[in-house]
């Protein structure tokens, strides 16, 4: 035998290894990990087999956590921009944390005492919106949001306004029981490992997997059928599928009748002030006025109007009827059917490029599988109307969709169409279909609201509502008396009324332009807004460094909290070095986006496994410290003294209201850790999490695991656990009254809230009506068009504004599975997998322009151009080009060499994407976003490609001045080398040529 490899029975590895469990954060999936330490250094990270999310598996990023921890790109010192240096030049001097806090506290205190909205706090792909949101609210600024607006708010809003839950972290496909799985526009998503586990099990069980995507990679690669679709046209595809289902009678009538508003009667009297609203039972008192239950059906047996869900009644889904008062009404489903008439498979073929026969066949596969493969589980449950059910049934057709639908400016209506399709098939929170995850389902719309106007923003006072909420009518908009936005990103204004996650992608442009107003301090946490999370990147970088006539920066003070040498960090006035995920406490809270499972709530924590590097400090601690210094009520006693020692102390002791028993963590509450969801603070809570793999999982009894929108047992439990305020059922909104209310306002109809409903209290004569808020003239037709209560298809706004003969190709990006946004170029292992990127083009499309595989090409949109390399691919729809997202980097960023492939060969598509579209009518500009939700329209851009001239540089364009290393960065490199050397057999370490 030999010396270096042991015989089969030897025990080789590191007897000194120590294992600590925590939660991964190489991406937002939040798997459980085990960190193996040798002499206090991270040596191996693997998946925690006892974690409910990943059950031991780990992904490419998670396994590369070591190289993040010891990356030379880490920031280790608080830094202040040198006063004579420009922003972006990256010239900093080291300061102490004390100094940093002084500067911040002084500046913020002044703002808070005068005009709190001049402080804006925006956060990127973080997982602590509960804390950042709390801080902003306590501060009193409305200008707070996280990444959702540029990420997938369409997915959240489109589904939550329809079924009270969504994909994303909120719910997903039940692949354990599905027979047919249709995945639309998904490359990777947040549920990375669990989805992979589930898909492979599903396939091995013989399930059929269809992927609708212009590109075939990743998951789509293993699909049984790939349906290449033209980007931005899924609405047409889904509507045509629904057309087929309704025409062939392949919908679950029983489900629709009882669990959706399909049978509810809609006022179709165009002259009525309540046109398009649901009619309700006259005069009945509503227990919860926000979520009225007194709608009407037209009963088939008695042939007359009855309250919905009346025992023994069964409504017509089709027809037109006249109420006693003469009001003409139709069941919502009739309106849907009328809408779908035009959307034939042949029509959709012309738009989507998917053959009509394929659309029809897929519709039949869905309908027949749902109908004939029905699942019945012997689980008794009681619905919200008191009806007992012996079994839980399910129609095993599951869907999953993500940004392929969301990141288009027609995404909201497309996603509504998808949610309605899922409802037609009867697959909502049922086995084999879509299933919710706590705290979903939520009411439609959820109860949280913003202030309704500028009066909600007052000096030295917490915000009079949440910074982000769920409008139910124009009355809930966050606008001033002239209809102008209160928020800097114009969310909840008439421009983007349901911008429930804000519009982070417009913050810099708006603040720079001073529209709607100028701000003073912008704090960016964990977002690379000078690079990949901004559209129109080149211009936005200029805006960040732009000064007004008086010589002052247009955005006077920029604070950035980052852990790495990102492109954004160079623009900071004050740069705060954050810890890594292995160095801090963190909470994946039920107040934010927890990691719940289908079977019940799950939340989790991170505990530090290694000490902070250099002087870096968890941003949580920064917020607690600032909150204390500013004496924000949640963080300080009335006498101004601080309430919480530090973040762990805050997490244990904070309650949403004194004595509420609701805090950031749901597990091990109560004095001795005996309570869950709700209970007094438990001083041992962290230890208990740490002893339990850092995760709290509360599986519910089977009878609470399904049909939760209408499950009395579950709803009452949820109410007791304070997940929900009300226990009323959440009916699927096939027909969206919320949207109709906005449309009425635009068409000069409707009374305020509950707006002029025929019948019920709100609309009854004699009740005083608030004046209806009406959109400004120039936005009326926009609102009237896009706030359609029934799903419809329109080409994305940018496509409408493009000459598609000049720019014939759609350009999209995809997430690479082995990279997280822009974070991982500093990761020595991951960057070997994706060192630079290509534009993938169908060979036939490329050759039309004489472009061969590997050629340098120009890609141009109306808004800009980039030079990059072309890779031929047969796995992309012929009218689409695509690339991996955020691989291209600015030269020198992320502690990479100035000539690293990322900045010389890699490119960023964002240069081609605009953050604003011209408004033809008034010459103004409006965000390049969904008109309903403000979701950034990343995937709407149209481009053309051409071969680069032979004399042009073989490198990407545009280029930016190389970033340099900051004070405090060099030391980390030594540490990293020490690590590798420690593992070396010959002590030489992986050497690295010195440069600079």
């Amino acid at each position: 035998m030999n010396a270096s490899l042991p015989p089969p029975s030897a025990a080789p590895l590191a007897p000194t290894a120590q294992i600590k469990t925590t939660t991964c954060y190489m991406c937002a999936c939040r798997c459980g990990i085990r960190v193996h330490l040798v002499d206090g250094k991270v040596r191996y990270i693997d998946g925690n087999p006892e974690h409910p999310l990943n059950r031991g598996v780990i992904c490419a990023k998670g396994s590369s956590g070591i190289m993040k921890q010891y990356s030379p790109g880490r920031l280790t010192k608080p830094l202040m921009r040198k006063s004579d240096a420009d922003r972006g030049a990256g010239e900093f001097e080291e300061i102490s944390w004390e100094r940093a806090f002084e500067v911040l506290a002084e500046r913020l205190a002044k703002i808070r005492a005068t005009d709190p909205k001049k402080f804006a706090l925006f956060t990127g792909r973080d997982q602590m919106q509960a804390l950042t949101g709390l801080f902003a609210r306590q501060f009193g600024t409305p200008n707070y949001a996280a990444h959702g607006g540029f990420c997938s708010v369409n997915m959240a809003a489109g589904m939550i306004y329809t079924i009270g839950g969504s994909f994303w972290e909120f719910g997903g496909p039940d692949l354990d029981r599905a027979r047919l799985f249709v995945m639309i526009g998904t490359a990777e998503d947040h549920h990375s490992n669990p989805l992979k586990i589930a898909i492979s099990k599903f396939k091995r069980r013989g399930g059929r997997f269809v992927s609708v995507n212009p590109v075939r990679t990743g998951y789509s690669a293993i699909a049984d059928e790939w349906v290449p679709i033209r980007p931005g046209t899924d609405g047409a595809f889904l509507l045509a599928v629904m057309h087929e289902l309704v025409a062939a009678g392949l919908y679950d009538r029983e489900f629709l009748v009882r669990y959706s508003n399909a049978g509810q009667l809609v006022n179709v009297d165009e002259t009525s002030d309540a046109f398009g609203l649901l009619v309700s039972e006259p005069g009945q008192e509503e227990p919860v006025p926000d979520y009225p239950r007194n709608m009407l059906w037209w009963d088939r047996h008695t042939n007359g109007p009855v309250p919905t869900h009346q025992e023994g009644a069964d409504p017509y889904l089709f027809g037109e009827f006249t109420l006693a008062g003469g009001t003409r009404v139709k069941p919502a489903f009739q309106l849907l059917e009328e809408r779908l008439k035009q959307y034939t498979a042949e029509w959709a073929e012309g738009i989507t490029g998917v053959p009509a026969a394929t659309i029809r066949r897929l519709a039949h596969e869905m309908g027949i599988t749902a109908r004939d493969e029905r699942i019945e589980l012997p689980i008794a449950w009681t619905d919200c109307w008191g009806r007992e059910h012996e079994t839980v049934t399910g129609n095993p057709v599951a869907f999953h969709a993500m940004r392929g639908l969301a990141a288009h400016s027609n995404g909201f209506q497309t996603i509504r169409a998808l949610a309605i399709l899922m409802s037609l098939l009867g697959t909502i929170d049922r086995p084999g279909g879509f299933r919710h995850k706590a705290p979903f389902p939520r009411a439609i719309p959820p109860a949280a609201k913003t202030p309704k106007g500028p009066q909600g923003v007052q000096p030295n006072t917490p915000l009079g509502g949440l910074a982000l909420g769920w409008p139910g009518s124009p009355d809930d908009l966050f606008i001033d008396e002239h209809g102008k936005p209160v928020r800097i990103d114009k969310a909840f204004s008439w421009e983007y009324p349901l911008a429930v996650h804000g519009l982070m992608h417009n913050v810099i442009t708006n603040a720079w332009r001073g529209d709607p107003y100028r701000i003073d301090t912008l704090l960016i946490f964990m977002a690379n807004m000078a690079w990949n999370s901004t559209m129109n990147t080149t211009e936005v970088r200029k805006m960040l460094n732009d000064r007004d006539e008086g010589g002052e920066y247009r955005i006077p003070f920029l604070v950035v909290c980052d852990a790495f040498h990102s492109e954004m960090s160079a623009f900071a006035d004050l740069l705060l070095p954050d810890t890594t995920y292995l160095e801090r406490h963190d909470v994946m809270s039920m107040l934010d986006r927890p990691i719940s499972e289908f079977d019940g709530p799950v939340d989790s924590v991170r505990v530090p496994v290694v000490p902070p590097t250099g002087d870096c400090k968890p941003f949580q601690e920064v917020l607690i410290e600032l909150g204390s210094r500013l004496a924000l009520p949640a963080f300080a006693h009335p006498d101004g003294s601080r309430k919480y020692r530090d973040y762990p102390d805050f997490i244990v002791n904070f309650e949403t209201e004194p004595g509420s028993g609701i805090g950031f963590l749901a597990g091990w509450r109560g004095k001795g850790g005996e309570k869950f969801m709700k209970g007094e603070p438990n001083p041992q809570q962290w230890e208990m999490y740490a002893q339990n793999n850092c995760v709290f999982h509360l599986p519910l009894p089977p009878s609470y695991q399904y049909m939760r929108n209408w499950n009395r047992g579950y709803m009452e439990w949820a109410q007791r656990a304070r997940i929900r305020r009300y226990s009323d059922p959440v009916l699927v909104h096939i027909y969206s009254e919320v949207l109709q209310r906005f449309r009425l306002a635009a068409t000069g109809k409707g009374g305020g809230k509950g707006g002029g409903r025929e019948g019920g209290k709100a609309g009854a004569e004699g009740v005083e009506r608030k004046p209806v808020r009406r959109p400004p003239e120039h936005l009326r037709s926009r609102i009237a068009t896009y706030f359609d209560p029934l799903p419809f298809y329109y080409p994305p706004l940018e496509v409408q504004a493009s000459d598609t003969r000049k720019y014939p190709l759609a350009a999209v990006t995809q997430r690479p599975m082995a990279m997280y946004h822009s974070w991982d170029s500093q990761n020595a292992w991951l960057r070997q997998i994706h060192t630079h990127n290509y534009l993938f083009v169908n060979p036939r499309t490329a050759r039309l322009q004489g472009i061969e595989d590997g050629d340098w090409i120009w890609v141009e949109s109306q808004w800009g151009k980039v030079r990059c390399m072309c890779r031929h691919s047969e796995a992309v729809e012929a009218g689409t080009v695509w690339t991996w997202n955020a691989i291209g980097k600015a030269s020198g960023a992320w502690a990479l060499a100035p000539d690293a492939n990322e900045s010389r060969k890699g490119f960023l598509l964002n240069h081609l994407i605009t953050e604003e579209l011209p408004v033809a009518s008034d010459g103004g500009r409006i965000s390049n976003s969904d008109p309903v939700t403000g979701q950034a329209g990343w995937y709407d851009v149209r481009v053309r490609i051409s071969k680069a001239a032979p004399d042009e540089a073989r490198e990407t364009w545009p280029q930016f001045a190389s970033m340099r290393a900051y004070p405090g960065m060099a030391g980390v490199r030594k540490l990293w080398q020490a690590y590798v050397a420690a593992g070396a057999m010959d002590g030489s370490g992986a050497d690295r040529r010195r440069r600079r």
């Binding site: 490899l5 990943n54 047919l180 586990i197 082995a818 292992w829 590798v980 057999m985 030489s988």
Partner: protein
């Protein structure tokens, strides 16, 4: 005789690269390590990896298949890399069929890599010895690990469980069953190397719809009186026959 091997299921591999970096991570810190990296933060970074995941496109648009293809040493039953090694550093273990390199004997002549048709050996540019997948020999026999963790790092990591591990000579093992029943095949069979690692091919699930499934008595349109009926005025057989 035991022959340990990986069986890789191309039917579920999504090309996530988890097996690539988990392998690197385990082995760089373990007895096979470290696995050096060169120019880790400069142009053209490069390093030693035992396992790579590649992508192939099969067919022409729109009938394209994208195949993700993980590949590490296949632990050939008749490994051409072993007899050519002048030092005996490359060897195949009799007890379990794992092909290994003894780093202490290897002179870094690279000859074995020339003799491997699969391109899975890599010289470590710093230690100057030949390296390759060890089948995680330092995990799979480690008595300190719980039994279910005595599996290769890449197998533990793989989120789709596309990597099966076991003794292909034991007809009852999961790997042998998979090879037998799901069409397991070997790479480049033309060279007679008899790789122990096998691959499972793609399988396609289809739904066949019979026309009568679309016309059913329980059609919900009926309830609403919507099932289309021909107009009474249309001609019928009834009108013209008299017998």
């Amino acid at each position: 005789m035991t022959q340990l091997a990986l069986v890789i299921d191309l039917n579920v591999c999504v090309g996530c690269q988890a097996c690539v970096t988990s392998c690197k991570e385990w082995n760089t810190s373990g007895i096979a390590g470290y696995l050096s990296d060169d120019r880790p933060y400069d142009a053209d970074p490069t390093g030693t990896f035992f396992n790579r995941v590649q992508t192939f496109e099969v067919g022409e648009y729109p009938n394209t298949q994208t195949v993700h293809f993980p590949k590490s040493c296949l632990h050939c039953e008749d490994p051409p890399c072993v007899p050519v090694c002048p030092t005996g550093a490359s060897y195949k273990r009799a007890e379990d069929g794992i092909v290994l390199v003894d780093y202490d004997k290897c002179i870094g002549c690279k000859y074995c890599s020339w003799a491997c048709p699969y391109g899975v050996r890599e010289i470590d540019e710093h230690q100057k010895v030949m390296k390759k997948c060890t089948l995680c020999v330092d995990r799979i026999y480690d008595q300190k690990l719980p039994r279910e963790e005595r599996r290769p790092a890449c197998v533990m990591a793989c989120p789709t469980n596309a990597r099966l591990f076991g003794d292909i000579h034991d007809p009852d093992s999961a790997v042998a069953v998979a090879i037998r029943e799901r069409g397991g095949y070997q790479l480049m069979p033309e060279w007679g190397t008899h790789p122990a690692n096998h691959y499972l091919p793609r399988r396609r699930t289809e739904i066949v719809i019979q026309p009568d499934e679309l016309v059913r008595a329980d059609n919900p349109l009926k309830v609403d009186g919507k099932l289309p009926k021909p107009s009474l005025k249309e001609p019928a057989l009834d009108d013209v026959t008299s017998w």
